[in-house]
Symmetry: C2
Subunit: 347 residues, 2 copies
DNA sequence: CTGTTAGCGCTTTCAC
DNA sequence: GTGAAAGCGCTAACAG
């Protein structure tokens, strides 16, 4: 038990009375090996409880069977679901998943990339804090590690990405509100430096503007307090008849604040949020939201990465075109009560 | 860009005109090295963009600077928060975190342990699907990898654990309900094979029994449907005046079902749930819950692991007693409206 | 089919 | 202070 050095390939070879090559072949699929020898070696492996040392393998220039996932936070439901999906795919490819978080801080992000690269991960899945980050792009490219961007693209690079169509999602949602007859649709959010939020803002703007309606936008929501303050201010000055919140937490803050200041939804003001959440259907009124294909995003990002990994070197990019590289997934408008729609009786 | 081999220590040595020993010393803290040489080497490292190859290092018998986290699911808010906390601690110790999921399936769990061990992780944090799992215990012990159990202990083993006091949490919550004057307190949950759930059930039972009240227990809640059916059945037969739900999803299902079948909370029936969630405070009525110190659990588990890692070998278990090994953290009863308490006006 | 052997990049005695 | 050299466990020619 103490410092129990695990057995090495050489010991297995001795035990089985064969050379190291043979053992190596056995643990790598067992081709080109005499069935009898194969059985003998396999037995020795079992008896000794031998497990190949990945460090030695990767030293020989092999893959490490590990990939890295770099996300803002694991505690965020969106990214944890992505992570879960990615982990599933990784497992299917017998790979392990390193998870690191960035808090959307470019410094931590770059640092994560470097650490992961230095650990020789086979590939990287990353949700860039800043889609324009030149340094990140450069680091990734010079490292030569296959990478795919998640939720947010890494612009001006050849890195594949998988994301939701934020513009369309927000655009359609706004149009839905317009269809309800609302004329003064306010948009609230925080973190407007993020690619996704920006896209959603554009989608909102495009919709209201092309309908000849005013743009009422506030991007300063950080917490419950700022949400309530902003709401009061807006109610007073802009007199919105509908509110479109661009992110989960903002939706919740707004809902809570509306409740607190006795504004009834949707009678006084309609509410529509970006991103679904479990209780959106349970609270009263239930909240209409734009739902993103979260699991799909995580799954596809991982799949693209592994497909990339498998074609690397193999057919020297000949069939590269066969692998989708820029994926933009659609969103769904889940109609519930808060926008003024009558909800179905059951789910 | 193609197969851009990263620079090696030898190249750094040549570039700096020194031997490999010196470079090695520099990247390991730079002690015993002449300041001038040190600067020269550091410069060469910077120029070349050199990063030590962890594979080569770990081949020399060193640690791998990686730890593994084995949890039922990353998408579960409880475990994702633990994971986030653990990842933070890992980062502080310059280690990377492998995350794998088990779905509470002992087979997947064992497999995860094996894979992680074969990857030579320095340590393991694990939430055992089954606290009695002999095979898991044996594997962990024979592998000789330091491990710490999270949220659920691994019984009959010397493996440290960090968990919440589920018995006390449920016990106090039930007593709170009793204090409100409820006499027929029903307890609902699913997954009653889990250690945590069992403890909570015991806590509930102990409280009602010692108050001379009936045990009304249903452990078959799997989804909204079963929650609603069970509720109707109970309402009809057991006529409970309060409901204590032992896990997050059950709480939500019960709340939703109660709503749907027009039972008002807390007037007709009180509701109290185990585990807090963001909207528990926002829904009407707001839901009284037992809150667990989630982040603390993840953080402490990781800290214990690293402390273990650091003392290993060093002082040959002399001061081992200084490291806490069995940690049971307290829970908090968050009083809101659903139990009959009057909620404070603001948070 | 199978054994021998030369490293992969790094740490670490052991000399100088 | 610093360098030379011996491996750590494994794979991949290259012979047989």
């Amino acid at each position: 038990m103490r410092k129990s050095k695990s057995p090495t390939l050489i010991e297995v070879a001795k035990r089985a009375g064969v050379g190291t090559t043979t053992v190596s072949r056995v643990i790598n699929g067992g081709n080109l090996v005499d069935p009898a020898t194969l059985a003998r070696v396999r037995n020795a492996i079992k008896v000794l409880g031998y497990m190949p040392n990945p460090a030695a393998r990767s030293l020989k220039g092999y893959h490490t069977k590990t990939i890295g996932l770099i996300i803002p936070s694991i505690a965020d439901p969106f990214f944890s679901s992505c992570a879960e999906a990615a982990q599933e795919i990784a497992r299917a490819h017998e790979s392990l998943l390193f998870v690191t978080t960035t808090q959307n801080d470019p410094r931590l992000e770059l640092e994560s990339v470097k650490v992961l690269v230095s650990h020789r991960v086979d590939g990287l899945i990353i949700a860039p804090a800043n889609s324009e980050n030149t340094e990140l792009r450069a680091t990734l490219e010079s490292a030569g590690v296959p990478a795919v961007a998640l939720d947010r693209p890494l612009l001006h690079s050849s890195i594949p990405y998988v994301l939701a169509d934020n513009f369309a999602g927000a655009n359609l949602a706004t149009q839905h509100l317009i269809g309800h007859g609302y004329r003064r649709i306010a948009c609230m959010t925080g973190e407007d430096t993020l690619y996704t939020i920006r896209e959603r803002i554009s989608g909102y703007k495009q919709a209201v503007e092309s309908a000849g309606l005013p743009v009422i936008l506030n991007t300063t929501i950080r917490d419950y307090g700022s949400a309530e303050a902003t709401l009061k201010y807006m109610l007073d000055r802009d007199k919105p008849d509908a509110i479109f919140t661009l992110k989960n937490s903002t939706t919740i803050y707004a809902f809570e604040a509306l409740n607190r200041i006795n504004v009834s939804v949707p009678q006084d003001i309609a509410l529509l949020g970006y991103d679904d959440f479990e209780l959106a259907d349970t609270v009263r009124p239930s909240i209409t939201v734009v739902r993103q294909p979260i699991v799909e995003i995580g799954r596809m990002a991982a799949e693209i990465l592994f497909r990339e990994l498998m074609t690397r070197g193999k057919m020297d990019r000949e069939f590269e075109a066969a692998v989708p590289r820029q994926v933009q997934l659609g969103t769904t408008l889940v109609r519930r009560n808060s926008c003024g729609c009558v909800a179905p009786l059951f789910h």
